[in-house]
């Protein structure tokens, strides 16, 4: 974890609702891997006094690494950014996702959250010939997917979080990563566990992971505001996360 400066080099509209920001960043961030994030603060162009609005850093999950000093961020098109905007960047935050070695089929779930935290894995997994299915639940069903690679199967879940062929999809997947929140993320992961349990005989360890996106006060393990109760341990989203095995997470 270190702090460095970066800036927005380019802004590209990728579809009706989303834009992507190319960030020029410190080279040390090029080793960042899917699952890891940045804590970003916009710096006033004039370097006048710090403005404390917004107060905390924003948690940005890169969706792509373009070059050794270039990361891509996805943001709603309605958010206002300017090329040249300077950024103070802390990172990398958290641990890379841990994929099975023999991963062939992966199920990604976005539930009341954009899938941004899950997108950086797409290119490398497709290269490894992994089949990817993405299920959009709750408000994530409004997520516009036209810019995602065509190889990915996109499914809109129903209101009860189920979809046709659900039993098959859950059996087919070697691993599941479900991005939720911010807000009521544990309840939402509980919902997902419940529907998975209804459709599968058991949910084994190292199979389904919740990906948490709570806003982080410190991001370095100091404030303990992001602490989670796991069976047998306490973990920090910022240090140990963002992904936690759903069988170990205490969901209530």
């Amino acid at each position: 974890m270190k702090e460095s400066q970066g800036y927005i080099e380019r802004i590209t509209r990728v579809n009706r609702d989303y834009q992507r920001l190319d960030l020029a960043v410190d080279k040390s961030l090029s080793s960042l891997r899917a699952g890891q994030a940045l804590l970003v603060r916009r710096i006033d162009k004039d370097y006048e006094a710090e403005r404390w609005v917004p107060y905390l850093r924003e948690l940005w999950f890169p969706v792509e690494i373009l070059a050794s000093n270039m990361l891509v961020i996805e943001q709603p098109a309605r958010s206002h950014f300017t090329p040249g905007q300077l950024l103070s960047i802390m990172g990398p935050v958290g641990q890379p996702f841990r994929f099975r070695q023999k991963l062939r089929n992966i199920l990604l779930i976005a539930y009341n959250s954009t899938p941004a935290a899950l997108l950086m894995m797409l290119a490398p997994l497709l290269e490894r010939q992994v089949s990817i299915t993405m299920v959009l639940m709750g408000s994530a069903r409004e997520y516009e997917t036209s810019h995602l690679p065509g190889e990915i199967e996109i499914i809109q879940a129903d209101d009860d979080l189920s979809w046709s062929d659900m039993v098959m999809t859950l059996g087919w997947a070697d691993q599941v990563f479900a991005a939720v929140g911010p807000g009521d993320e544990l309840e939402h992961l509980g919902d997902i566990m419940r529907v998975m349990r209804e459709r599968r005989n058991d949910v084994p360890a190292n199979y389904a992971f919740g990906v948490l996106q709570r806003q982080l006060p410190c991001g370095v393990g100091a404030c303990h505001a992001c602490m989670l109760n796991l069976r047998g341990a306490r973990k920090l989203q910022c240090v140990d996360g963002p992904a936690f095995d759903l069988t170990t997470l205490r969901l209530n």
Binding site: M1, E48, C223
Partner: protein
């Protein structure tokens, strides 16, 4: 510099820079490694430690506010003996004194903590945190018991009760007063739709606590140092506290938003120039980012505030 931040006497604490983190902001030891140069700080104040382990709060922990946050962590920690066992090695290697923030709710607990801590030479001083609704008698009993420790005792006062508690606790054996803990407040968790209670942090807390420091400095005997803590977000904020009579300051949540700000404040009040900015490239002069060149300058006076920003004229 050598600044005595606790009452002069057999056990007193001397720091080389009058700037340190507030309890709860920097963790138990070196969480900010790579982000903050600890060497530049006056001391490390640990996160709150209780005798028994405490669990994290359930429910909403944090709510972003306009220029601030509400926070309610529940002060999770594994309890005093585990904290000591796990951290004393790191503390021994820290370049600065370690002040352990102790939360104890009975005289027995204070005594128990006292005998444990007196054995731990890696802890240079103890800061006692008091509950927000504490009665004066209970506070007096806790401070009297804690003052028996063979270490300097700082006492951090609750915000709303600080006028009432400060004079008697200074007399009861506190070697320094830390003014104050963050005030409690209520805000809406927009995700959950509930009103949630917690501590309030942000720049607007500073004028409130600054006035407390100024008024209490005139009421409390000179030999009891006051350490200012509340809403410090810039070197000027810190100097205002010094000007109002504080001997040192604690920086709280500003560190989370901009970690280098703590170091920058410490460099400023510690008599170091943060960055040589003239004719420098962007990365060189931005005081929060660049490589720095340490130049001794005269001890900071409240009126002389070196301009850390780039010169506008070229």
């Amino acid at each position: 510099m050598a600044i005595e931040i606790t009452r002069p006497g057999k056990y007193s604490l001397i720091v080389s820079t009058p700037v340190m983190p507030a309890a709860g902001t920097l963790g138990f030891s070196d969480s900010y490694k790579g982000l903050i140069d600890y060497d530049k700080l006056g001391a490390l104040v640990t996160n709150p430690v209780t005798i028994e382990p405490w669990n994290p709060a359930s429910g909403t922990r944090m709510i972003p506010l306009d220029a601030g946050i509400l926070l309610h962590t529940g002060l999770p920690n594994p309890g005093l003996s585990k904290v000591i066992n796990r951290k004393r090695k790191v503390w021994a290697n820290m370049p600065i004194p370690v002040i352990l923030h102790l939360v104890a709710t009975s005289v027995d607990q204070v005594k128990q903590a006292g005998s444990a801590l007196d054995e731990v030479e890696e802890v240079a001083a103890v800061e006692l945190g008091l509950s927000d609704d504490i009665e004066l008698d209970d506070a007096l009993a806790l401070v009297e018991a804690a003052a028996k420790m063979e270490k300097p005792l700082l006492v951090r006062l609750p915000f709303y009760e600080c006028y009432d508690l400060a004079p008697p606790l200074a007399e009861a054996g506190a070697d320094a007063l830390v003014l104050t803990a963050a005030p409690r407040g209520t805000a809406r968790d927009i995700h959950a739709g509930r009103l949630v209670s917690g501590r309030i942090y942000g720049p607007l807390i500073k004028p409130l606590v600054l006035r407390m420091v100024g008024r209490l400095r005139r009421e409390i005997p000179d030999e009891i140092p006051i350490i200012g803590c509340g809403g410090i977000h810039s070197p000027q904020d810190a100097r205002d506290y010094i000007d109002a009579g504080a001997v040192a300051v604690q920086v709280d949540t500003a560190t989370w938003a901009q970690p280098k700000m703590l170091e920058r404040i410490a460099r400023d009040l510690g008599g170091w120039i943060a960055t040589r900015h003239k004719d420098a490239l962007l990365d060189e002069w931005n005081p929060d980012m660049g490589h720095t060149e340490a130049i001794e300058r005269r001890a900071p006076s409240p009126d002389a505030s070196p301009d850390l920003r780039p010169s506008r004229k070229r």
